[in-house]
Symmetry: C2
Subunit: 339 residues, 2 copies
Amino acid sequence: MPESPIIAIDAMGGDIGPEVTVAAAGRILKQRQDVKLILVGLEDKIKAELSRLNLQTSDRLMIHHASELVGMAEAPALALRKKKDSSMRVAINLVNEGKANAAVSAGNTGALMATAKFVYKTLPGIDRPAIMTTLPNTKGHTHMLDLGANVDSSAESLFQFAVMGSVTASAVDNVENPRVGLLNVGAESMKGNAQVKAAEPLLQNSDLNYIGFVEGDDIYNGSVDVVVCDGFVGNVSLKSAEGVAKMIGHFMKQEFKRNLLTKVIGLIAMPVLKSFKQRVDHRRYNGASLLGLKQIIIKSHGGADEYAFGNAINVAILEAEKSVPQCIESHLGDLLQNK
Amino acid sequence: MPESPIIAIDAMGGDIGPEVTVAAAGRILKQRQDVKLILVGLEDKIKAELSRLNLQTSDRLMIHHASELVGMAEAPALALRKKKDSSMRVAINLVNEGKANAAVSAGNTGALMATAKFVYKTLPGIDRPAIMTTLPNTKGHTHMLDLGANVDSSAESLFQFAVMGSVTASAVDNVENPRVGLLNVGAESMKGNAQVKAAEPLLQNSDLNYIGFVEGDDIYNGSVDVVVCDGFVGNVSLKSAEGVAKMIGHFMKQEFKRNLLTKVIGLIAMPVLKSFKQRVDHRRYNGASLLGLKQIIIKSHGGADEYAFGNAINVAILEAEKSVPQCIESHLGDLLQNK
């Protein structure tokens, strides 16, 4: 465990950039006396933002200049080849050079994945890295992967996702044997597509706490800790859930705004509605990990605000404290030896 | 259009059976003076239920005896082979013999699909039938298919689902050219798994109002009328949405029950919460269609109550009025001729 984790922040990434990232860095430094942050990007812009926020650089809040930016719509391959001094690339380089323990970016997802994979390299025994995120459930939270790094995942890939997810969940949640489930369309063994059917025996014969097939609703009911799926399925599942949650919020607002009486009722109910809103606030779960690489990279939503981006920084801190890639590597080492 | 649609109801199907199905039939008959219902199942049980509800048989409410039951956990192939006088099978037979225009069942999904496919037969030009349901969105509703009849669907199957979905949506919603979208993990053409990429040109070159790729959240935001996907993906998407909706409801209840003050606020807010609850009530959308067969079969949730099962009967009435299978057949005829 690093004594005081150093996090490299792509200060220019995201839909908004330094206005969000620098403010989030300031917020986290106040909360956590034991971490150091490096703001990577255009020095002038970062300094301007610091002064606007009355923040000073220190040995806990550093600036590392990077002259280029990766656009949110830029082709990943081009960004990787041409933007060698981008804030994203330099933040990742700092981790690779041992000057930071983890990097965080709200930038272009494709470019971030390609760059991190290229610079960090994949862990031995991992064919393809996977995106994992944390989602709320009625009893706590669920980890889910892959959320879109891969489509058409093989059974072997699904098995590797399960190992990475289990090891990471165990490390960050301090849980011995997290329950791992394979996302399927029914709990019976005859159900499922070809990949899922082929992955089932690999999981059954592993040392994971594999609890069998789970269904979409299990993600949110607290019956499983790590949900494993192909990236296509995971992405659709996540966005469907986001869509229905947004619709429910929309309907609730409409009902409370229907007429003068319902508006008054809304005012009276405000404290309850507020604490309800906090519980379902998706910003609390911002910060997805690209697992399977030799170092830590956390992807924030592009549209994250200060609070949400701060949570992505917190995910980076936690994974750095727990040395997640080293945990995965050591578990994979055992698996590869036993093969 | 049949003058007064006759619906055959599997009165024994579902987790509860006649207590729900007979009551729902009574409710629908009161609402709709122009329909006739046939309750299929054990005559004694149905009669007992009718008398409990003070209902009489008439030329609008008939009983058709069937001596056997299909269990909710029974193997579909066995049910198909051995239970030739089951309430499910007989209801489907009545439609096939022209004695009813559509059948409804809350019974064993696998057995229902196998039996309907065997008795009705698949329409020419359709490789595999698909399950379609209606889901709420912020502006109205969305139709989505397939929801689990198929996994590993080919591009050609996805195209057939699109045709069936478009024709059905057009018929039941009285809409000229419903917007059809293909469910994917991003809107860019380079994204997607192999099936989706192969299906895209088939849809682009069709006469459907194909609007391109849509994502999971689009199902609920009103930007598309018919969402097409593989049954594995569709089932996960639907159950993920159900799961998150349930979790949100659970959190809301908890917040309003936190202490005496919040309970009082909950009482004050009750009328608003009630009308909100009505809007997100999934029972309103009960009743999925198995499309691609020569006749109409509607599948109700097994756990449906009287109100929910009544809505499944309404879906059957609507599809019978619009002669949905004939609409699909005629559209497919044009397509096959143009090949």
